[in-house]
Amino acid sequence: MSQALIELRDLLFAWPGQAPLLDIPQFRLEAGEALFLKGPSGSGKTTLLGLLGGVNLPAQGSVRLLGQTLAELGQGARDRFRVDHTGYIFQQFNLLPFLSVRENVELPCRFSASRAERARQRHGSVDQAATQLLAHLGLTDPAMLARRADSLSIGQQQRVAAARALIGQPELVIADEPTSALDADTREAFIRLLFDECRAAGSSLLFVSHDQSLAPLFDRHLSLAELNRAAAPREA
């Protein structure tokens, strides 16, 4: 079996003084895969994303990203590893309102030399990379790119967030309920754009949402409740 992008093994996590929240015997995300992970709020979804980002560490078991066990890295190295290999899209208000659209997209390249380097290799410059990504996502107006991020509509902001997650071709894009603020029509269009761009960048997509209706769009869909043994009694 080839190396998985994400591999969780015998993962156990509990917040201090609480019952175990996550107990995942096994989970894999293959390179280039787009996975829908269904997780209602309170299911430990945020905690799982924290573990994948190396912000939290499991009590037992391992989280491996690109073959690297996160717990083996120091805190600073985990931070660096995260930004080098992962792009994030959140629910809404993803952008720093006081920066321009373009600056928001370029942010990861400011903190990760390797993503800046990959953006340069593929597009010539970080600036070019931002312009092209935004153009692919339907934001072509150069005047708009210079505007403050909070002057855009929610739908436009989410596309800017997607461009930011994709710049510098991270191996993994984690989208945490990115469509919940969008209406039904734009939701599907946004996901298709996201697929296209992930494919173009060669990134895997981990899409976490409570909205089961989006699941058929993906290669594979899973439910966190099925994965997580700790959640089973609550569902019953």
Binding site: T46, L49, G50, G53, V55, N56, G76, D79, R80, R82, V83, D84, Y88, F90, Q91, F93, N94, L95, L96, P97, F98, L99, L107, P108, R110, F111, S112, R164
Partner: protein
Amino acid sequence: MYLLRLALASLANRRFTAFLTAFAIALSVCLLLAVERVRTEARASFASTISGTDLIVGARSGSVNLLLYSVFRIGNATNNIRWDSYQHYASDPRVKWAIPISLGDSHRGYRVMGTSTDYFSHYQYGRRQHLELSQGRPFADNPFDVVLGAEVAEALHYKLGDKLVLAHGVAAISLVKHDDKPFTVVGVLKRTGTPVDRTLHISLAGMEAIHVDWHNGVPARGAGRISAEQARGMDLQPTAITAFMLGLNNKIATFSVQREINQYANEPLLAILPGVALQELWSLMGTAEQALFVVSLFVVLTGLIGMLTAILTSLNERRREMAILRSVGARPWHIAGLLVLEALALAVAGIVAGLGLLYAGIALAQGYVQANYGLYLPLAWPSSHEWTLLAIILGAALLMGSVPAWRAYRQSLADGLSIHL
């Protein structure tokens, strides 16, 4: 540096609060520097009120008292000294020059000083500067000549040739006037920034003439009165003066002459070294001056605490900003650095604006302050002492900035990538 760009952009996003915070710091910095500058200049101008005089001699009292009435025209002499005591020392071979001083009259609140023409040639102030006339001449043979200090002439709008009447005593409103013997303005001195500006100078003969028909502190009535014309013909040698100043040929002799005068057998006299007495007097006022300095330090502290409050208050509503930054790769120390830079930017803006306010203020008030208080406030670059103060303020701002930085560091570690609200 990209963090600085982020810090400034974030501040610009909260520009109203940021402006107010920086403005509070600017005001406090301006106040501190203004107090510092006035303090320095006041001390310098105070110390240069009199120079070149080796000894001041008056009736036996306290040295500060003697200095106050003989140099600052404040308060009164406890007693007069005899003319022959003055002559005794004026003719001493060790004495280069002597200036007699006779006080006790006034004109519309300004003191009148009787003296000799030696005053104009030997009295020095500041950096050994002599008195200079801006108009006219020193008083001469006519006992009813008066030479005005610059402020007197300006405030009372006197010009050469004007006649004025002196009042007996030093109260601002005097009931007894020497209106039978008016004086003529013959000269106006250049501004010195010292009490000389607020003095009317007449000759000892003039001082004698206006009191020649006085007995037991009241003017003579009827036939006993002596007119100005009659007085002019009389012998106007005074029998007593208030004090005198001495310049010695050899400075080394100062202490032995001082001791001699203090032990003068014919009359109880007191000789003081003006520099020492000035020091004593300044140490009295030093407390007030230091209090002012301490108050302005606390104002600066208040400004900085305002900054601390503003940044700390913003922290909670900026958790999202922090989480976004974390998700794009900012590490906790980046977040902390961002807040320190923010504090630094506010402090630098406050200091620069404070300096701007200070210089604008000095440029505007310079003329007024010099005219009214005799203080020259230079539009000079900050002194090394002032730079030190500014550096301390900046250091304090950094220290204060590290408080929210530490909290944000902890917060961003705890929050991770999860966005609250």
